[in-house]
């Protein structure tokens, strides 16, 4: 940072080769030599850090030893012996503690993906709405953003969970719609059960995706050569929806529905989405959407007015201007803060522990930690997961920024 002008200065005697040996110049004291001083300082810092870490580790080891506590990761292979309310993979009480880590991690990923999906859609709609010409819509959007941004997320989670979902009826008095049931045990939906021949539909679906990609490439090439345009988007949608649908119809509807039925305490069959997941999902999406909306608004406003005016002057329609001029340029500004919002959402999903949604923090840093007492290993593993996620995100962001950087003169 500091460009040392004094150091790179000319030699005192103008470079003429001296005949006689000049008396030795008084060497500056070493603590006045910036290079040596910085070296010394760094060595001291390292020593101090090393000392602090050494004491912490020493203390920890002595404490663990004195208390006869075990250390190491052996516990991961021991039988867990407790149940988990919701698991995306096969988990029983006989599974190991290591499995509880996987189950929690998958549940965290599930809520993060669901939250990111919903928050993005909602956030984009609100961000655009806040800039709408329609006074009522703009004000409504502003009101939403200002309300939900300034209330703690945990409070919102509690509100949805305790004040809203808890007031739903019992399973016996469930609200029913379209074969699904909603009650205070969650949302119970019929589960699709693929039968023979359903594989064909899946193959058709992926084939359509591949075909769409080729069509897009072909159309881009053709447009560059001839200027003719091809409705790529509509064609792709048509293919991706149409092909599997046709195959599905022709192969004789190979899909059964497993309808939930009220048996004993609760519904048997179908898919149950537990209320903890619903509450967390609602709160995370609503809260994060208000931040994403602000990002989107800032991004759109960052596109200079000259751009839209130029597009209008070229005779582009409003929709085309948005699609081809404003959004691509706004995205450059929006993506970095958007990624950090995604990261925040993922980190915030750890609040699941407050309402008992079995995410990583609740299952692993909660129950597993209690049952094994191995706080250090468990917390370290949990932190490592989030740390890895955020490092990956920053790498992606840096890569993206480098790629999308405006190349100016």
């Amino acid at each position: 940072m500091s460009s040392d002008i004094l150091q790179s200065g000319v030699k005192p005697d103008g470079g003429s080769t001296p005949q006689s040996k000049a008396p030795p110049v008084n060497k500056p004291k070493f603590w006045n030599d910036p290079k040596k001083r910085s070296l010394l300082f760094q060595v001291l810092l390292l020593a101090a850090l090393g000392f602090v870490f050494y004491t912490i580790i020493q203390n920890t080891l002595t404490n663990l030893e004195q208390r006869g506590m075990t250390t190491g990761f052996d516990f991961l292979s021991r039988e867990a012996g407790f149940g988990i309310a919701m698991s995306l993979i096969d988990y029983t009480e006989a599974s190991s503690y290591g499995m509880t880590f996987i189950v929690g991690l998958l549940n965290t990923i599930l809520i993060a993906v669901m939250g990111i999906f919903a928050a993005t859609i909602l956030g984009f709609i609100l961000g655009v709405a806040r800039l709408s010409d329609n006074w009522l819509i703009a004000k409504f959007s502003a009101l939403y953003i200002e309300i939900f941004r300034n209330i703690p997320l945990l409070l919102q989670i509690f509100f949805w969970y305790y004040a809203v979902l808890r007031t739903l009826p019992t399973p016996r008095q469930s609200l029913e719609f379209f074969g699904s049931f909603i009650n205070n045990r969650g949302l119970i939906m019929p589960a699709p059960v693929p039968e023979d021949g359903f594989g064909l539909v899946t193959i058709g679906f992926f084939a359509a995706i591949v075909a769409s990609w080729f069509i897009a490439r072909w159309s881009r090439k053709r447009q560059e050569l001839t200027g003719q345009q091809f409705p790529v988007f509509l064609t792709s949608i048509g293919l991706i929806v149409g092909v599997p649908l046709l195959l599905f119809l022709f192969s004789g509807l190979p899909l059964g529905l497993d309808h939930p039925e009220l048996k004993g305490f609760n519904f048997k069959g179908g898919i149950t989405v537990i209320p903890e997941l619903i509450a967390l999902w609602l709160a995370l999406s609503i809260y994060t959407a208000s931040f994403i909306a602000e990002t989107v608004r800032a991004g759109i406003l960052a596109v200079s007015h000259g751009q839209t005016e130029a597009a209008t002057a070229l005779g582009m329609s409003k929709a085309k201007t948005l699609r081809l001029i404003v959004v691509p340029q706004a995205m450059r500004v929006v993506i970095p803060p958007l990624t950090s919002q995604y990261l925040n959402l993922t980190k915030n999903s750890s609040l699941a522990t407050a309402i008992g949604y079995p995410d990583l923090v609740n299952v692993f840093a909660g129950t597993t930690l209690n049952q094994t007492g191995q706080a250090i290993e468990v917390i370290a593993m949990t932190m490592a997961v989030y740390l890895t996620l955020s490092l990956l995100t920053s790498f992606f962001m840096n890569w993206y920024n480098a790629r999308i950087q405006l190349t100016e003169r």
Partner: protein
């Protein structure tokens, strides 16, 4: 022939006044009209019952749930527990202490926010350096004949403010050191600071709090035990300092390079350069960022209920479980939400206002 300019005609009545405004802002074309009607209908059908529930059908005076008969909100519940919401289990005779601490805090903040007041720098320094000491002795006591009040009795809004204010004030110096370290040209210092910042920014606050409540005691030799509040504060401060460092780094980077070079050219040493030239300019630019991190932290303090401290939200949760008042959880959530909202909204408005005001100085940094 006289050539006379006619006075301009007024615009058609449908373009001005109320009608004009409505046409321009609400019914500008068929799409917008439909949107307006849909959103308007939704708003009215939602707002009217809500307002009725909150204000018109609600009960405000009474001592037990029998007073809540109107079918609206039961604010009696909140009124009866207001002391707990504000002070937690702080002994009633001593309530004046958190009150006084709060008044001093708000007073100095108002002093700093108002544009015309003199000696801002002095007040800010007092607030950052002297006030924490005063507030500590006020709240904790055990001095000048003030009875001691154990920290596990602290709660409610008092505790929320303690956590947020201490978190910010304590993380400020640490954040400055980290930010300078991150910008340093000494490789080891730089990498130590970068690692520290990235680690704390990469993990959720809740795991930091878990660490503070479960692991921290293991790090210290036996017999050194801090109470839970102090442990939470240590965790929050470390966590917050990483965010603070990034805000401060942003402020430092906003100072044009010429300032650094000019300071070097004058032959100022590193610390002189920073303290006399860079920091005073950068601090001004950082205030909005600091206010924003303060808002984030203020909201995040509610997480301490997970490690068993009684902040305002935890008090609300406990109140909701009181069998005498079952079924009024919406009221307490609304009340706490309002508390947080008032604080956060006013702070965010202030920070936006500052950003606009500061947009002059070194604005042009392409």
């Amino acid at each position: 022939m006289k050539y006379e300019i006619q006075p301009t005609l007024p615009p058609p009545s449908s373009m001005i006044g109320v009608v004009g405004w409505l046409r321009k802002n609400l019914f500008d074309g068929p799409y917008n009209s439909v949107a307006t009607i849909v959103v308007g209908y939704f708003l009215i059908s939602f707002l009217v019952p809500t307002i009725q529930w909150i204000f018109i059908d609600s009960d405000w005076i009474g001592t037990s749930r029998d007073a809540c008969t109107s079918g609206g909100a039961c604010w009696v519940f909140i009124a009866n527990r207001l002391d707990q919401f504000l002070y937690g289990f702080y002994p009633e005779a001593e309530h004046w202490r958190p009150q006084l601490a709060f008044i001093i805090l708000i007073g100095s903040i108002i002093w700093l926010v108002l544009p015309q007041t003199p000696k801002k720098g002095l007040v800010a320094t007092l607030l950052l350096v002297v006030y924490p000491v005063i507030a500590y002795f006020l709240l904790y006591g055990d001095l000048f004949g003030l009875p001691q009040v154990e920290t596990h009795l602290w709660g409610g809004l008092t505790l929320t403010l303690v956590l947020a204010v201490v978190g910010i004030v304590a993380s400020l110096p640490l954040g400055i050191v980290l930010a300078l370290g991150r910008q340093s040209d000494m490789p080891i210092v730089k990498s130590v600071c970068v690692t520290f910042i990235e680690i704390w920014r990469g993990v959720p606050l809740i795991t930091v709090l878990f660490m503070a409540s479960v692991m921290l005691p293991l790090f210290f030799p036996e017999g050194m035990s801090f109470d839970k509040l102090l442990r939470a504060l240590i965790g929050i401060t470390l966590f917050q300092s990483a965010y603070m460092a990034e805000v401060i780094r942003g402020g430092l980077q906003a100072i044009p390079k010429g300032q650094y070079e000019a300071a070097d050219a004058l032959g100022l040493g590193y610390w002189q350069k920073m303290i006399l030239i860079i920091m005073p300019q950068a601090l001004k630019l950082m205030i909005p960022g600091i206010v924003n991190t303060f808002i984030a932290l203020f909201k995040d303090t509610s997480l301490v209920l997970i490690i068993g401290l009684f902040d305002v939200l935890a008090i609300g949760q406990a109140a909701n479980q009181d069998p005498d008042w079952i079924g009024y959880s919406t009221e307490s959530y609304l009340f706490i939400a309002l508390l947080f909202w008032v604080f956060c909204f006013s702070m965010s408005r202030y920070s936006q206002h500052l950003e606009k005001k500061l947009h002059t100085g070194h604005g042009n940094r392409a």
